[in-house]
Subunit: 275 residues, 2 copies
């Protein structure tokens, strides 16, 4: 059975999870020590508090989620304890839920191979986020891994997302040119190319979906960043999606009941998705 | 004295080093286990061999170099030993030589602050490489650190560097628009914005230098990737530069004499720079 699962495409896994759980929710783990519940910080070291916080959030929200996205910035900031804390969090994620390494890698082919080996072979993530600026040889080493997905930044939800992504090239916005180009690079690969498409610009999302009906979109920006789950589901059409919410779920409450509150918020978001 | 040094700009440090050492050479540490000398691999664990290799390379080449660039991909690939190995290598770099975290970070402001704290506060690098695709809020958190430099990818030397960077926007190539925009973001900041400009396209380099005379350029691609030191020095004009060579120096030889051979190659490159 395991051997069989390895040969299943990322899109297939996503479709099966969507059907089984009636969800496309991805819970983003961005554990900022300044926002952790006080009772954890008083009881543990900072990395211990991050570990306990993530473990409880994962356990409580997993029934409503099909994926967890781990933001590398917050784990690297833990210094010497970062990697072991990440490994512990990964271990607590149920096997039937997908994992995303939110690392936004992007380097020349020689270096990209080492990043890919670390994320897919050592840490065994199901997918990763990548930056497109350095072009094809910075992306293709990740696409060689069967069953994985490489979500490449196309149209991001942050304020700076407008600075370069909306520039016009050959009569279309840069983000659209990037999106079509990177999807073309994955036509013959074992792994899948997906796109990061922010929830805050549903026009761009609908525009991309019309030309890329089967490309998985990782959609951040629902919740704290202001995107509405309902609008996003409409704009992303019937194509494969993962809709990420981080802060609105994981920081729903800072009391000792934080995990139950996060679960309540995750359940609410799942219902808003209307699957 | 230390307090005073903290307030010295990156460009000033670079100019002083250039004058003191008659060099702008940066040695890139990309330790690929498959290319390490056999005697180290047989004597140590993989991470131990990487540590010993880098320590000898640093000691032997430091007289000819003004900077060392640490490629994060190769250290992350060491798994649980990656960070301690990097710390050990950093510790061996003489205090009068600059350090570059070649990490190519690029994430929303909230995450960028954590990456910046890790690289500048915990690891105490002098500079970092960044990817521009996510725009201003992904860059400015790094620019708040006084005396540091954030080298932002503009025109890279790898084959994929042509895929997006050469696209025409508003009548000029994207890399040029990116370069001018990011330098504008640093006009009021404590830290400096620099640019990554590959050695393999000296036309683009001269083009950029003509409009950005005082911006530090980190120039990879000399040596193994084919750029000539002499042509690069001509194209980069009189502006601040760091010229990086990785593989041509560190893998000059794989015998037990590898460090002496690396030093010889570094000395040769320094002479070719003609300072």
């Amino acid at each position: 059975l395991l051997k069989k699962l390895v040969n299943v495409s990322f899109n297939h896994k996503l479709a099966r999870l969507r059907a089984d759980k009636a969800s496309v929710l991805c819970v983003g783990l961005d554990p900022d020590p300044a926002k952790l519940p006080a009772h954890l910080l008083s009881r543990f070291s900072v990395s211990g508090a991050v570990e306990a916080f993530c473990a409880e959030i994962v356990e409580a929200t997993a029934p409503f989620a099909v994926a967890f996205k781990i933001n590398f910035a917050f784990f690297e900031a833990l210094g010497d304890h970062g990697l072991e804390t990440m490994r512990s969090v990964l271990k607590g994620i149920p096997k039937d839920v997908l994992t995303i390494a939110d690392a936004k890698r992007g380097d020349i082919g020689n270096s990209a191979r080492f990043y890919a080996s670390s994320v897919f072979e050592d840490l065994k993530f199901d997918s990763i986020t990548l930056s497109p600026y350095m072009g094809k040889d910075s992306i293709t080493p990740f696409l060689t891994y069967s069953g994985t997905c490489s979500f490449i930044l196309a149209r991001t939800s942050n304020p700076g997302g407008n600075d370069f992504q909306m520039l016009e090239v050959n009569g279309e916005p840069l983000y659209k040119h990037v999106a079509k180009t990177v999807v073309d690079w994955s036509l013959d690969t074992e792994g899948t190319a997906g796109l990061v498409v922010g929830a805050t610009d549903t026009d761009s999302m609908a525009n991309l979906r019309s030309s890329l009906p089967n490309t998985p979109f990782l959609i951040p920006g629902v919740g704290s960043q202001g995107g509405s789950a309902k609008d996003v589901m409409a704009a992303s059409g019937n194509g494969p999606v993962l809709i990420n919410s981080s802060r609105a779920i994981i920081y729903a409450d800072a009391s000792p009941d934080f995990a139950a509150c996060a679960a309540e918020q995750a359940a609410k978001t799942q219902i808003e998705l209307g699957i």
